[in-house]
């Protein structure tokens, strides 16, 4: 039986993108591509498991620990499985003033989960995050690359229906 490790490989077009990204840095400095390649890995494999991180390490000729320490430092990387749609609600400063806590409570009530939990059907994960740079359009949440701003309960209803019907989100991939 093949080990999980050997089965992990980027799709052909993703490999091309990896090539384009590493070419942006001088010879010998390909480590600089790590953050972006980890985004690609997370988009393609769902989350950054140890075998996925080991694969990225081999790809960029790094020691596995160089990948682990980066993956665990930055808040956008998930080292645990996530739902298909991550709802990341900003909770900082101006968003708090404009009712971010109310929005979080409403999503918790709608989905029956708490912050950092995933729904039983594996569709939604709720996460509260720090300032996303949308302070003038608060409250807001990010789903994949998309910013949803000026949130109200009605807008949250709409979003949840939309993602329930089609739980596809572009996660910082290609």
């Amino acid at each position: 039986m093949e080990t999980a490790e050997n089965q992990i490989a980027f799709k052909k077009e993703t490999m091309k993108e990896v090539g384009r990204i590493t070419a942006q840095f001088p010879e010998g400095m390909q480590k600089s591509a790590l953050l972006r390649v980890l985004h690609l890995a997370q988009a393609e494999f769902g989350w950054l498991s140890v075998p996925v991180m080991d694969y990225v390490a081999r790809l960029l000729h790094l020691n596995p620990v160089e990948v682990y320490e980066v993956a665990t430092f930055y808040s956008m990387y998930d080292t645990k499985p996530m739902g298909k749609v991550k709802l990341e609600v900003c909770r900082t400063g101006p968003c708090m003033i404009e009712g971010a806590e109310r929005i979080v409570k409403y999503i918790e009530y709608k989905l029956g989960i708490k912050d950092s939990e995933t729904t039983a059907d594996g569709v939604f994960t709720l996460k509260t995050v720090e300032c996303l740079g949308a302070c003038g359009y608060a409250p807001m949440l990010q789903a994949g690359e998309k910013f949803h701003e000026h949130l109200t309960e009605a807008k949250v209803d709409e979003l949840i229906e939309q993602y329930k019907a089609n739980p596809v989100v572009n996660y910082m991939g290609m």
Binding site: A134, C135, A138
Partner: protein, 450 residues
């Protein structure tokens, strides 16, 4: 009518595309610089303009450029700091999204001035959709001969790439940004050596904010002297202000640095006054890190002067009665907002974002968060206020990078100006869960002559 130097064309349909941008005078500064100026001339114009770093610190850009080391045979780099993460700040996102070619044009001229042949824009990972807008615009710039080899036959070569972060406020600190761009954790470096001597890959490097680099375009087009004519004193030119909180018209505004804070908050040209006819309680004028000002110090300084939207006027009175222009993240609080809750919220942010290298910041931010949380929830003791003061004092100035200071200042200023409100949370532990303290009493200041 206020002049706009950066966002003048931001509302033109299709301005994010090369053709429309070019038709509206785009890339003129590159033509001018590469055809008729030397790199030193460009640096000289930027020095004359008085432009100061728009990311928060306000350091003179021309002087920063002047520090770059030029050892023989070692490549130099210009990095654009697009890691905009300071709570209250969203101006760079707006600029890059609406008018991405302005940043690219600024990068070309600035790279020419510094002798950099490969420059990078480091953008926060959450702005991935903006990264895609920039990459599209960069491809257009290559296709039209503004990037690549021998630009406009000048012999100047420039490659420009965009690289994302992945969720870390600390990467807005320039040495942490460099570490991150090298594919590492965003741990700030000890200085010296400064990036101007040993930065990206140990090569001489300049890191500038998005807005700073964009401002180089009008400076080259109109000349440094013309730019310096706008504004007051050492606050030259225009500044992008991100306005949020309890105001009628949140958004990004380009101001000439000569208007009053009063005008900025209440005029319909800008914030349009406090929402729902409420009264102003407090204002954080420069992003979450800068000291909060109580209502009686917003429009007037302690000396009774009108407070202006300038570096000098916003910091008038020092930290005792002033604040800072910072990144221009302007947050307005109405009479219903709770200062203790807001301070706890900001402190939780700094605790979350501390990189963990320095004990005072790593531990201190967590302690402050806990103490503020119990005060806010009616479990505080009166000694907690002095305890907070003591912790913040021990963080400030005792860390490798300014994140420690940034975490200390909001706590210090909240206690300095709103001590009664903190004490009320202790004395009225039940009431503080049900209602807010409201406005603090006006205070008058004796004019102090130095």
């Amino acid at each position: 009518m206020a002049r706009k130097l950066l966002l003048e064309n931001a509302h033109i349909e299709g301005i994010h595309t090369y053709d429309v941008y070019r038709k509206n005078g785009g890339y003129r500064s590159v033509e001018k610089a590469l055809k008729s100026m030397s790199p030193e001339d460009v640096v000289e114009e930027v020095k004359k303009s008085g432009l100061r770093g728009r990311g928060g610190a306000g350091f003179p850009t021309g002087m920063k450029w002047g520090f770059i080391a030029k050892p023989e045979g070692v490549p130099r780099h210009l990095l654009c700091n697009a890691d905009e993460s300071e709570p209250g700040t969203f101006k760079d996102r707006y600029l890059m999204e609406k008018i991405p070619h302005l940043l690219i044009e600024g990068m070309i001229v600035s790279s020419f001035a510094l002798g950099a042949n490969h420059s990078y824009i480091y953008i926060r990972g959450e702005y991935m959709y903006v990264l895609r807008i920039l990459e599209t615009a960069i491809a257009e710039a290559y296709a039209n001969g503004w990037l690549g080899k021998n630009i406009m036959g000048s012999g100047f070569n420039l490659d420009l790439s965009v690289s994302p972060g992945a969720g870390a406020y600390i990467c807005g600190e320039e040495t942490a940004l460099i570490e991150s761009l090298e594919g590492k954790r965003g741990n700030p470096r000890m200085k010296p050596p400064f990036p101007a001597v040993r930065g990206l890959w140990q090569r001489p490097t300049v890191v500038n904010n998005v807005e700073t680099i964009a401002a180089v375009v009008p400076i080259v087009n109109e000349g440094g002297d013309a730019y310096a004519q706008i504004g007051i004193g050492r606050s030259t030119g225009t500044k992008l202000i991100s306005a949020g909180g309890n105001i009628n018209k949140p958004g990004v505004y380009e101001i000439e640095m000569n208007i009053t804070v009063e005008e900025f908050i209440y005029s319909d040209t800008y914030c349009g006054g406090i929402k729902n006819g409420k009264k102003l309680k407090a204002c954080v004028p420069g992003g979450s890190s800068v000291p909060i000002l109580p209502h009686y110090l917003v429009s007037k300084t302690a000396a009774g002067q009108d407070r202006l939207m300038t570096y000098e006027s916003l910091s008038d009175g020092g930290f005792a009665t002033g604040s800072m222009l910072g990144s221009g993240g302007f947050i307005v609080y109405d009479e219903d907002q709770c200062i203790v809750r807001n301070t706890w919220n900001f402190t939780r942010f700094y605790h979350h974002e501390s990189c963990g290298q320095c004990s005072p910041c790593r531990e201190g931010t967590g302690w402050m968060e806990k103490v503020l949380h119990r005060l806010e929830n009616g479990h505080g003791k009166i000694e907690d206020i002095d305890l907070l003061w003591d912790i913040q004092r021990k963080i400030e100035g005792n860390t490798i990078c300014p994140l420690g200071d940034a975490a200390a200042w909001p706590v210090a200023s909240a206690i300095r100006h709103f001590r009664e409100e903190f004490a009320w949370h202790v004395k009225e532990p039940k009431a503080c869960l049900e209602r807010n303290y409201g406005l603090v009493a006006d205070r008058t200041f004796e004019t102090v002559t130095a």
